[in-house]
């Protein structure tokens, strides 16, 4: 009983109603679109009155303001705070999304990125007024080369996939400089979708290499496809099954021998820092997702940054702008004529990279130091193996119970004949308060479930997760199908009709439905 005499004890209350008058559920409040607000008008920014001068717009002034709602500041705060409360986040819970490296995002990095000397400088200021910014770029370049053992780096690419473009364009430029662009790029069947998409954008045909029974690619399989038409291979290591490609050095040697280049997809660098020398593995170009390994926030889908490290052979072909240092003065080479000994393949985006992301990433690197970064790799791999070891007896490992790198891949064999699919299982995890792992990727495994815990998680969180997974497996096997096929029931929305979204696309507000 509480002080008002109402029952609070177990068994004393009635089952809760499923619906309220408002559709709200206490802290979970339904929020209309800003376009559905009927009473907007004056907005939430106080601007001085214009003087009313006659315009100088060459007669192109439009007659009325754009049709856009403007809300007052308290309305805005409530709108976006309520929306935010419908999101799962790394700050709020365990987010073991394989291949995405959802690690803790330190707030120090946010604070540093907001220093006016970084946040409030223009990309085209005279270079004499941005020496600190260029020095920071030089410094982070040094860290990236040191961590990978590579010779050079470009900071131009805006994200991982853009980095892939940079790497593959450099490869094509290097081959063209030799007089033979070649026509084919090899990539393992388990590769990220961005790899074949990138190769194709750079004008290559893609040939997929199957993996052997242990989930890795053999040098023999690569050799079978090598020839004078092969420009190179795009290969992720550790691969998307969470396994180290044991033949990687041999594969690189074979590709080099055939006159091709090796593109390493660096999405999984979090498994290698301080443990593997990327250069010694024979990589010629590799992008580094600063928003994965170096913890800059994903922000609900970006921004990222995808610097690319290059081998000596590819370094001259890196894109513009080039960063140079001479007698302690930093400069940007923005023009191919000034590139001296280099032959940049061109510019791939305006300005000089994702500065705001570099500041955060460097702040992260400085905080860890070299040994802290190595330790984070160790802990990330430890955590993944701990999950593997403690779930191997109830879930199914497609390539046997071998040790994994920073993520562990299960398939859906353990769900056979339960009527529960990988997707159902993932949705049931939502009800239990966990973000699901990556599902149905890589494509080479049936009903894939790729779990990447990262180094940020405590053993306590991992144990709770493991116990939950074990309980869910037991429930699935004992015929509690409804717990899965109806899931989620406690999320802000239940399963959404994706077919309808695609068949009758409604992409902008067109009125209430």
């Amino acid at each position: 009983m509480n002080r008002e005499g109402r029952p609070t004890g177990a068994g004393e209350t009635q089952a809760p109603r499923s619906r309220t008058f408002t559709g709200n559920k206490a802290l979970q409040i339904e929020e209309p679109l800003i376009f559905e607000r009927a009473d907007y008008g004056h907005g939430g920014v106080d601007l001085p009155e214009p003087e009313g001068l006659s315009t100088n717009l060459a007669g192109l002034e439009q007659e009325s303001a754009p049709d856009l709602p403007g809300l007052s500041e308290p309305e805005i705060m409530r709108h976006y705070v309520r929306l935010s409360q419908k999101n799962f986040s790394i700050d709020g819970g365990f987010y073991p999304l394989g291949s995405c490296t959802m690690k803790h995002n330190p707030r120090l990095n946010e604070k540093m990125a907001r220093l006016p000397g970084f946040a409030d400088i223009h990309p085209l200021q005279p270079q004499s007024t941005v020496q600190g910014a260029l020095e920071l770029q030089h410094e982070i370049s040094g860290w990236l080369c040191n961590i990978t053992g590579m010779s050079a780096v470009t900071l131009a690419p805006r994200a991982g996939a853009h980095g892939e473009l940079a790497g593959m364009m450099a490869i094509r430029a290097a081959l063209e400089a030799r007089g033979d662009a070649r026509s084919v790029v090899l990539t393992p069947e388990s590769s990220h979708g961005t790899n074949p998409a990138t190769a194709s954008l750079v004008g290559y045909k893609v040939k997929a290499i199957p993996a052997r029974a242990d989930g890795t690619v053999s040098v023999e399989a690569v050799r079978e496809h090598l020839g004078p038409d092969v420009a190179g291979i795009m290969i992720t290591n550790p691969n998307t099954c969470g396994l180290f490609e044991r033949d990687f050095a041999a594969i690189s040697a074979a590709v080099h021998e055939a006159g091709g280049f090796v593109y390493g997809d660096g999405a999984n660098l979090n498994a290698l820092m301080g443990r593997a020398d990327v250069a010694a593995l024979g990589v010629d170009a590799m992008h580094i997702n600063l928003h994965k390994t170096f913890s800059t926030p994903h922000g609900g889908g970006g921004p990222g940054a995808g610097p690319v490290v290059f081998s000596k052979a590819l370094a001259p072909f890196a894109p513009l702008p080039l960063l140079r240092e001479k007698y302690g003065v930093f400069s940007l080479i923005e023009n191919p004529d000034e590139a001296e000994n280099a032959s940049p393949f061109g510019r791939m985006a305006a300005f000089q990279g994702q500065m705001g992301v570099f500041v955060r990433a460097l702040s992260y690197m400085l905080s860890h130091g070299g040994n802290g970064l190595a330790r984070s790799t160790d802990d990330a791999v430890l955590n993944a193996n701990y999950i593997r070891a403690r779930l191997a007896d109830v879930m199914s490992l497609p390539f046997g119970n071998q040790s994994c790198m920073h993520e562990v891949l299960f398939d859906d064999a353990f769900l056979k004949d339960t009527g529960v699919t990988t997707l159902d299982f993932a949705k049931a995890m939502i009800d239990e308060g966990f973000h699901p792992m990556t599902v149905y990727f890589p494509l080479v495994v049936h009903g894939a479930m790729l779990i990447e815990p990262t180094e940020s998680e405590s053993k306590e969180t991992l144990d709770q997760f493991i116990e939950t997974m074990r309980a869910l497996v037991k429930a699935a096997r004992s015929g509690e199908t409804g717990r899965f096929t109806n899931a989620p029931v406690f999320a802000p929305r239940r399963r959404l009709d994706e077919t309808r979204a695609a068949r009758q696309p409604v992409l902008v507000y067109e009125g209430k439905i």
Binding site: N56, L68, G70, K111, L165, G301, P303, R375, I513
Partner: protein, 447 residues
């Protein structure tokens, strides 16, 4: 290390559970010749105040825009961003969420994207927009590729007054993607003749408005010329605040509008992260690159949002995808959307008018400096002026007097005969004192 929860005892207990003797055993697959034992040559860890001191020292070597008169534009614009914008984008649930792959627990991000798409479509005068690209230059390059795909033609005509970084980015992607790109000579303050370059092989005409020299141009005749040849008009906008006052590209007949969204809600950040905008009419919808958010219903019939039309994208289509883009600019789109929701259409119009008036005032003030000649016949917030002498030296001399006066055209066009031109921009943040200081310093330097 403050970000790592494990103690050595915990690590030991976990290794025992895994059944290996030590951490090294987990890395046994790495071939001997590629093994490393730590990153000893890098500095050791640092506490927060040491990192802050290091970063503050670097930041102090840069001249922040707010610390004095500032007049630079050319694709990145400085406006006041309300405090609530930066507060809201730092909400954990927005900042530390991934791409909304599990829609049931990502409705916050998804509704924001749906609202963002609607705002971008209305602002540009188009029917639909995507959930963002990396930035304006890459959006422009992707638009050219899309046009080539849609029209099955390889030639793209680029107006010489397109931002040179956009032109170069499009040339790069186009070269590898098999496009044939023709461009005109830049014409500062003018309008290059384009209709004559459009023929039956042309997939699209790419025109920026206002252009890199600040000149505004009526796109309607260009849309007509492009359409007559069966080509698309791709309109590039690098300053979306201009759309508060200027006729929208959609209203002037553009088929694709792409550009930079940074100037609404986002800071200068030395060039990134920024926000690519991409809007089209419905018939081009399924050829668009990038993520798209769509409306649907959930199992209880309630409205909800999902990422949709993903059969265009790399994770499904692999080498046949419309683009390889994956991560885009979600958080920058959120900042844009919040700022625009605070402004509303009327607020944006007023902000645009303030910027335009500030620019008229600047042109008036600088125009009185002996030897200075403003080239533009019409402009929004940016114009190009001619100085007697070397513009790059003038800009350096101005910087020496703590005035950031603009961009010398020679930085974009070295050796192309534009060495005496300065591209300068004004905003609502400039005061009479800023303008007077600029004109005074310029007078001194030129005399």
């Amino acid at each position: 290390m403050r970000y790592l929860p494990h103690t050595d005892e915990t690590r030991k207990a976990m290794l025992d559970k895994i059944g290996v003797a030590g951490m090294a055993a987990l890395f046994a697959d790495i071939p001997q010749e590629a093994q490393r034992s730590g990153l000893e040559t890098l500095p050791g860890y640092q506490g927060e105040w040491d990192v802050e001191a290091h970063m503050a020292a670097l930041a102090a070597k840069n001249r922040a825009a707010a610390s004095g008169p500032f007049f630079i534009g050319c694709g990145a614009y400085r406006h006041h961003v309300p405090a609530s914008v930066d507060h809201l984008i730092q909400r954990s649930e927005f900042l530390t969420a991934y791409t909304p792959y599990q829609p049931e627990i990502s409705q916050g991000t998804l509704q924001v994207l749906f609202e963002f798409q609607t705002q971008v479509a209305r602002l540009t005068g188009m029917e639909v927009a995507n959930a963002s690209m990396y930035d304006g230059s890459t959006a422009c390059a992707e638009a050219a590729l899309m046009a080539s795909r849609v029209k099955r033609r390889r030639k793209i005509v680029i107006c010489g007054n397109l931002h040179p970084h956009y032109r170069e980015s499009t040339l790069t992607l186009g070269r590898f993607g098999g496009l044939r790109i023709e461009t005109t000579r830049p014409q500062p303050g003018g309008a290059p003749e384009l209709a004559g370059l459009i023929d039956k092989d042309t997939a699209a005409l790419v025109v920026q408005n206002p252009d890199v020299f600040g000149q505004v141009r009526d796109l309607a005749p260009l849309a007509e010329a492009a359409h007559a040849a069966g080509a698309l008009l791709i309109a590039v906008v690098t300053e979306p605040v201009s759309l508060g006052l200027l006729r929208s590209p959609g209203a002037m007949g553009a088929d694709v509008v792409c550009g930079e969204g940074q100037s609404i809600g986002n800071g200068l950040n030395f060039g990134g992260p920024y926000l690519g905008l991409f809007a089209v009419n419905k018939k081009l919808l399924r050829q668009m690159p990038g993520r798209i958010c769509g409306q649907t219903v959930d199992a209880d019939g309630r409205r909800g949002f999902v990422l949709t039309l993903s059969t265009r994208e790399q994770h499904i289509r692999r080498e046949k995808a419309t683009s390889n883009i994956c991560t885009n600019s979600g958080l920058c789109a959120l900042a844009f959307s919040i700022h625009l929701s605070l402004l509303g259409g009327e607020g944006l119009r007023k902000l645009a008018r303030l910027n335009h008036e500030s620019t008229i005032a600047l042109a008036g003030t600088l125009g009185q400096v002996p030897g200075v000649k403003v080239l533009n016949s019409g402009y929004f917030n940016e114009f190009t002026y001619k100085v007697p002498g070397d513009a790059a030296e003038v800009i350096e001399a101005l910087a020496g007097r703590d005035i950031l006066g603009g961009v010398p055209a020679s930085r974009f066009y070295p050796g192309e005969g534009f060495d005496d031109l300065i591209i300068t921009a004004a905003s609502e943040l400039n005061t009479d004192e800023h303008r007077a200081a600029y004109a005074g310093a310029l007078k001194e330097i030129l005399s």
